[in-house]
């Protein structure tokens, strides 16, 4: 949206207001993406922190090819991937105190979905990172398979396969009674 273009323009010129606005606008979204990728909220918070600091440090180099939301998601995904590669974290479960919310608001539905989401998180932890990443970027980040393929320097078919196998496994895990 135009507001994002304007925010980015101001941010690149050192506007603290623009930085705060970008943070407030995308904080929940980015922590969700990071958590979905890392299955560890503390690690996700670290990623978000590191991302915003590096975002400011490289403000002048920021260039959008698509929208700001996707750009931010990709940056967070890259940092999460690096963290996994460096084995700085081990995928784990969400903490008890973590606040899982649903985008729906009806109380009954919310209770049901909280349970689903908790199960989902455990199931996601059992996917290969590459599969989890494609699922999160495609479904949460609204990125196209071609964009993800370009980002990961691999073929679209590979990305599609990861997505399909990942979803199949998720379905199988979520439909089973016990998640190991």
């Amino acid at each position: 949206m135009l507001e994002d273009r304007l925010l980015l323009w101001k941010f690149k010129r050192g506007s603290s207001e623009a930085l705060e606005r970008i943070y407030d606008k995308y904080e929940t979204y980015l922590i969700t993406v990071a958590t979905a990728l890392l299955n560890n909220t503390h690690a996700a918070e670290d990623v978000l922190h590191d991302f915003f600091v590096s975002f400011v440090q490289s403000a002048e180099k920021v260039k959008l090819n698509g929208n700001l939301k996707s750009y931010l998601a990709v940056c967070v995904a890259n940092l999460a991937r690096n963290k996994i590669k460096r084995r700085q974290i081990e995928p784990g479960s969400l903490d008890d105190g973590d606040s899982i919310v649903s985008t729906e608001s009806e109380p009954d539905l919310l209770a049901m979905q909280k349970e689903d989401v908790a199960k989902l998180n455990e199931a996601m932890a059992q996917l290969a990172y590459e599969q989890r990443e494609v699922i999160v970027l495609h479904l949460q980040g609204n990125m196209k398979f071609t964009q993800i393929a370009k980002l990961r320097s691999t073929s679209v078919n590979t990305i599609r396969s990861r997505y399909r196998y990942g979803l199949d496994k998720l379905r199988s895990l979520l439909n089973s009674e016990v998640i190991i």
Partner: protein, 475 residues
């Protein structure tokens, strides 16, 4: 068992609420880094503009007019003329304008304008003030009302002001001359800039088509470019209150003129309005010529583009009635009545014509209800002649808009005479006024009193089917 669709839905709905302390921690570190950055933020944008190459060139080319005392533009002194000319030259070097504005309700916003370097005309604009975002491009202009989530689209670039940025002084002088206004220029020390600036005060006295207006423009003596504009006298809601800061030739934010219609927004496409206007005019002429099939097609095209164009609905209703399709005609008149009903306004002319259509369709009860409801307006119009029933005059002639100015204006006498013709049609009475005499314009007081007495004592509807309603139009 969860399907793949369910799984996708759960993933999409997955959301984590950040801990409250996250914001302060992350932002504190990020803002610290930002403050320590040694890039553009260290240099105020304003200073950057003042030192930009293009404005420097403009400044170098211009003669410093700081020494100019108080005078009016009408003096046309050589110095003044030269100074203004230099300012005009400086204005022409503009490729972009960035303005910070304050509106009358205190809301703030900003405007970006891209100026065509060859023509000096505005080419693209982005404005975000209060609840309204405007994006203008050469092809189309979007107006996005954010609080109502509604987008209006108009064809071409729609300028927001009578005064164009790059022709600011020429337009302002022309405006002063047109309205016999006053333009005064003097110098004043500016605390913010810590030097003298040129103060241009423009005053337009109250005009029939424009209320009293005064605005003050601060001009930088070096660049000759306006740096702020404040409207000091103006009818509320007429343009912004002030342009607090103007910046020139900044790189325009990427993609700012690319408007995307927000999800779920109501879209009112006014870009096809010229086409609708053409169809409407052709429809009126077809109706007047008795080509009802053609009129029907044209009015329907108008309504497809402008569903809320009441007169198109009205004339389409008349067309249907002429085709003998009374029910469809009644639906069109009802559309007009409902349209205004939302605002608690009645539409007597549409109710009158609908009453006649009901009668023609054989629905006597509905006809009586409508016609009795409009009687007070019709009778009242005989007395005030120029007010209550004047909308009837617009519907007695599909070609009204094509008539010359004199023919378009109905005199009070003529308007009364035609109203009696309508009353005759729905009551069978005339109270001594010869409705067949086309020269009979003046309605005697005794006739008006007779109608008023009738209405007070025994108003009733009795449509005279033999009387053909025919209006007298101005010569």
């Amino acid at each position: 068992m969860k399907s793949l669709k369910d799984i996708k839905k759960i993933v999409k709905q997955f959301s984590i609420k950040p801990r409250s302390e996250m914001r302060s921690k992350v932002l504190k570190d990020a803002l610290d880094v930002q403050r320590s950055q040694k890039h553009l933020s260290d240099m105020s944008i304003w200073r950057m503009i003042m030192h930009s190459k293009i404005t420097k060139l403009a400044a170098a080319a211009a003669v410093i007019i700081i020494c100019i005392g108080i005078f009016t533009i009408l003096n046309h002194s050589a110095k003044t003329a030269y100074a203004i000319e230099q300012t005009i030259t400086a204005m022409r070097s503009i490729s972009s304008v960035h303005a910070y504005c304050t509106d009358w309700d205190g809301s703030r916003g900003e405007v970006w304008v891209q100026v065509n370097p060859v023509t000096g005309e505005e080419e693209y604009c982005y404005s975000d003030i209060g609840n309204l975002v405007i994006v203008g491009t050469p092809e189309v202009t979007y107006y996005y009302q954010t609080d109502e989530n509604r987008v209006r689209i108009r064809a071409g670039y729609v300028t927001a002001s009578d005064v164009r940025f790059s022709y600011f002084f020429e337009d302002m002088i022309a405006l002063m001359e047109q309205y016999e206004g006053e333009l005064t220029i003097n110098n004043q020390y500016d605390e913010e800039l810590r030097r003298d600036v040129i103060i241009v005060r423009a005053y337009i006295p109250d005009q029939p088509d424009m209320p009293e207006k005064e605005f003050v423009v601060r001009v930088d003596p070096q660049t000759k470019l306006p740096i702020s504009i404040e409207v000091t006298i103006c009818a509320a809601g007429n343009g912004v209150k002030s342009v607090d800061r103007l910046e020139y030739n900044l790189p325009i934010p990427e993609g700012i003129f690319e408007f995307e219609i927000p999800e779920g927004a109501e879209v009112v496409d006014e870009s096809r309005y010229p086409e609708a206007n053409e169809c409407f005019d052709r429809g009126r002429r077809a109706l007047a010529a008795g080509d009802f099939a053609q009129a029907k097609e044209l009015f329907e095209r108008v309504i497809a583009i402008q569903p809320m164009r009441n007169r198109a609905h009205y004339w389409l209703g008349v067309t249907y009635c002429n085709l003998g399709q009374y029910d469809t005609g009644i639906a069109q008149f009802t559309a007009v009545i409902d349209m205004f009903g939302e605002y608690n306004m009645d539409v007597p002319y549409a109710r009158f014509t609908r009453g006649l259509a009901y009668a023609a369709a054989g629905n006597e009860q509905a006809a009586n209800e409508d016609l009795l409801a409009v009687l007070p307006t019709m009778i009242g119009h005989l007395r005030d002649g120029e007010r209550r029933g004047n909308h009837f005059d617009g519907t007695d002639d599909p070609l009204l808009r094509d008539r010359n100015e004199e023919q378009q204006i109905r005199s009070a006498e003529l308007s009364r005479a035609n109203m009696i013709r309508r009353l005759r049609k729905i009551t069978g009475e005339d109270f001594g006024f010869d409705v067949y005499d086309r020269e009979a314009y003046e309605v005697p007081e005794a006739v008006i009193e007779a109608w008023e007495r009738w209405y007070a004592e025994s108003p009733s509807i009795e449509i005279d089917e033999d009387y053909e309603l025919e209006f007298v139009l101005p010569d």
